[in-house]
Symmetry: C2
């Protein structure tokens, strides 16, 4: 069973990496960018046929390792 | 106009970062993980009302800066 997880910084949390990318793009003549925020993406293959169970495990992985819930949100898709 | 971009390693390209995460999770008693691959995620806000034009710009950003097309694929969602 395959899951995709997106981890993003919470709104209001400063994203210097995104800012750096934005400045670089501005310097490359992409002038009308309002904002870029960077996040992380994971593709997880779990060896489990029960979808609910597998999703629960992925959820736990996110809480325990993949996302820092103080400053990040995660979404399983 | 807001776009989300996912950049992933191409199939067959080694992903040591994903492997490290997998080993850590195995050590945390998540034993039935088959594979984890890590990618990048970008949320781009473009100051442009024409959707086709905006998407074209984002596409160009991906090709020129955000993704390394030799080893990575990107998807605009």
């Amino acid at each position: 069973m395959k899951f995709k997880v997106i981890v993003t910084l919470k709104n209001g949390v400063l994203d210097p990496q995104g800012k750096a990318i934005q400045q670089t793009l501005n310097g490359m003549s992409f002038s009308n960018i309002e904002e870029i925020r960077q996040g992380k993406f994971f593709e997880i293959t779990v060896n489990e046929n029960n979808e609910a169970k597998a999703k629960e495990q992925v959820d736990e992985m996110c809480k325990k390792l993949l996302a820092n819930l103080v400053i990040e949100d995660y979404k399983i898709i």
